[in-house]
């Protein structure tokens, strides 16, 4: 009896394991065909998997209103790596948000289907469409829809003179009051820019080692490595941090909370993330997926995105952007930023980041 039970359990486990394996391995190189009639409302079910600040009600309500018979199922994640792991584990989605600095995990598992740019009305207008990573092997894998620069922000009451460079941030005046987002690219990227390296996201092993050592040597000046934007806001709110490497959007969130802060582009340079939407290799409702992508790229949706603090990618939306957001929303404002892309050896960055926290 025992033997029978064990055999049955192993059989079930084997089926489950093979199901997991095939979840990631199933690929489709064919371009997702765009036959959607953009004038006609979408129907069926559309499963969207994205960062939570991309799929806010404010952003999605006009699309829902225009497509009343479309059943939208929204799920959120905290990183593309998490998204890739969940998709590999059997989670199903038609549209997934893709960020250029994290897309590797999705690509590695062939979870993205090439996009037919003819199906994206404003494709030719979009900024960042030629950034490295948008195309893989000649195929477009995501439509860039939002961006944002990373620089320095500081509490204007605590630091009345301001901070305009990473060198100044680490000069000792802000001992124990600095915050840097808790991920390998941000922490090592700040160190790389401070040390004067050209490309913080493609450092040589020697440069990576120097950046790691810099962070270890300056650890006492850093108060924390916050895990999320909201955690960063909390650090400023509670007075723990007064200077940080931060996104301009997060600075805007802090202002909305009543924290006296200012964002500046440091002398060493800024970097900018670029995110957009992609179609998954297992997408079922491709017509609705194209409709959603077109909606996000439309001037109307881009204007809403601008109000949320993002740099928009469709310049046609600029006339619709409220005056107070025009400067921050303009893609021209970050044209000199270093694109935040995935390093060629991400595991070396993760390891260096672990050594920083251990050292």
């Amino acid at each position: 009896m025992k033997k029978w039970l064990l055999t049955a359990l192993f059989a079930v486990a084997a089926v489950a394991i093979s199901a997991c394996g095939s979840g990631g391995g199933d690929t489709s190189e064919a371009v997702a065909p765009s036959k959607a009639d953009l004038e006609k409302p979408a129907t069926g079910t559309l499963r969207v998997f994205a960062y939570d600040d991309t799929v806010t009600d404010q952003q999605l309500d006009p699309f829902r209103k225009a497509n009343p018979d479309l059943d939208m199922k929204i799920a959120t994640f905290n990183s593309n790596e998490e998204a890739a792991a969940k998709l590999a584990g059997g989670f199903e989605a038609d549209v997934v948000e893709v960020c250029l600095d994290e897309a590797g995990s999705l690509l590695q598992r062939n979870q993205l289907r090439p996009i037919d740019t003819k199906g994206v009305t404003d494709w030719d207008e979009l900024s960042f469409k030629d950034e490295p990573g948008v195309r893989q092997n000649g195929n477009v894998i995501m439509v860039p829809l939002s961006s944002g620069p990373y620089g320095i922000n500081y509490n204007t009451q605590e630091v009345p003179g301001g901070v305009d460079s990473y060198k100044q941030m680490f000069d000792g005046d802000y001992d124990g009051r600095i915050a840097i987002p808790g991920d390998p690219l941000a922490t090592l990227g700040v160190a790389a820019l401070t040390l004067g390296f050209d490309d913080p996201f493609d450092m040589s092993p020697d440069e990576l080692d120097q950046a790691k050592q810099f962070l270890i040597d300056h650890k006492s000046q850093i108060r924390a490595f916050p895990e999320s934007d909201s955690d960063m806001v909390n650090l400023f709110k509670s007075g723990e941090a007064i200077v940080a490497n931060n996104g301009r959007g997060t600075n805007q969130d802090m202002e909305a909370e009543g924290i006296p802060v200012k964002w500046v582009a440091p002398k060493e340079g800024t970097w900018a993330w670029v995110c957009g939407l992609g179609i998954t290799s297992k997408a079922k409702n491709i017509d609705a997926a194209y409709k959603l992508i077109n909606y996000y790229a439309s001037p109307k949706a881009q204007a809403i995105s601008a109000e949320n603090g993002f740099v928009i990618t469709n310049p046609k939306a600029m006339p619709l952007v409220p005056q107070q957001y025009k400067e921050t929303a303009d893609p021209e404002s970050i044209k000199d930023s270093i694109p935040l892309t995935e390093p060629s050896d991400p595991e070396a960055y993760t390891r260096a980041w672990q050594e920083v926290r251990t050292g």
Binding site: L5, L9, F10, V12, A13, A16, I17, C20, G21, G23, G24, G25, N78, S79, E81, E82, A84, A85, A88, G104, S105, Q108, R109, N110, G176, G182, D183, P184, K219, I222, R223, A224, F225, E227, D231, N234, S238, G239, E240, P346, E347, T350, R351, W353, Q354, E355, V356, R357, T358
Partner: protein, 299 residues
């Protein structure tokens, strides 16, 4: 109309068949067994399977031991494992130091407040772990209640930064996160101890410490063993506390596994690390069980 007759019951005295006796326990156990298999054994099987695989789910995979050898021979992971052991052990000892007296008060001294206090202890555990961690940040932070109180009492001139964002704050948060699971098994084992034994020990000249060490401790050893199982093992895998209150040194084994899976997308290495932690936990549990048997006087 005749008087209705009572149906006759015949007692045959026959015993249920051997087959029915054999199948009955399985019938009762089939659902729990199925639940256990689906929710525990299958995920465990998947974890073990991944830990012995190389590749990244793209189809290029195969058997390997390198996930284990790489983990065990890497000095960085050894250092993190030692730091994790140190933090988890101090947190566990702190919980026992607080938990045993608390369980004693609940079991023998609380009187009519016993049930309300027990409920309060359970309710305290219902608080969302994130909220609890942020509450600690409000207490220990630069502008937190403790620093504010010390400043307003004139005891310090500047806030003490060392209260938060370091190993100390991780230990404080972890020590309080699982207190309910430390106290309740110990409390349950104390309830089974006849308090008359303490009187007897006292009559024989034993002081409170001797009574605790030679009478109470051996009898509540099984409760302490359960508390260790419920608390010490999960402490090793925690990654929220080190991330949120650990500051620049907030790293434990749980964070390394999270980095492996969420940063590198390396499920195989993450699975191997989790499997090793599970093995260590099993060995530890075995050791604690043996100790509790010795302390408890079991043969």
């Amino acid at each position: 109309m005749g008087i209705p007759t009572t149906p006759q019951i015949t007692v045959t005295g026959e015993r249920p068949s051997r087959l029915s006796r054999l199948l009955k326990p399985f019938a009762f156990m089939s659902l729990p067994t199925a639940v256990l298999a689906v929710l525990f054994l299958i995920p465990m099987g998947i974890l073990v399977y991944f830990s012995f695989q190389y590749g990244d789910l793209t189809g290029q995979s195969g058997f390997t031991l390198s996930n284990f050898t790489d983990t065990l021979t890497d000095p960085l992971y050894r250092e993190i494992a030692l730091a994790t052991f140190e933090i988890a052990t101090i947190a566990m000892v702190a919980q026992l130091i607080v938990g045993i007296p608390l369980a004693y008060v609940l079991a023998y001294k609380a009187g009519r407040f016993e049930l309300p206090l027990l409920l309060a202890l359970v309710l305290a555990d219902e608080l969302n772990p994130m909220v609890r961690i942020y509450a600690w940040r409000m207490l220990l932070g630069r502008e937190g209640l403790i620093n504010d109180a010390l400043t307003s009492l004139g005891l310090i001139n500047a806030p003490i930064d060392a209260l938060l964002f370091n190993k100390f704050s991780v230990i404080v948060v972890l020590s309080t996160s699982y207190l309910t699971y430390t106290v309740i098994p110990i409390y349950a084992s104390m309830k089974a101890v006849d308090s008359g034994l303490f009187e007897a020990a006292k009559d024989m000249g034993a002081g409170w410490f001797t009574t605790f060490r030679r009478v109470l401790l051996p009898l509540i050893a099984p409760g302490i063993f359960i508390a260790l199982l419920l608390v010490y093992v999960p402490l090793f895998t925690d990654f929220a506390a080190p991330s949120l209150v650990g500051g620049t040194s907030g790293i434990m084994l749980g964070n390394v596994v999270a980095d492996m899976v969420l940063q590198n997308g390396n499920l195989n290495m993450g699975a191997a690390m989790s499997f090793l932690m599970l093995l260590a936990a099993a060995l530890f549990s075995l050791l604690a069980y043996q100790l509790s048997r010795v302390k408890g006087g079991a043969k």
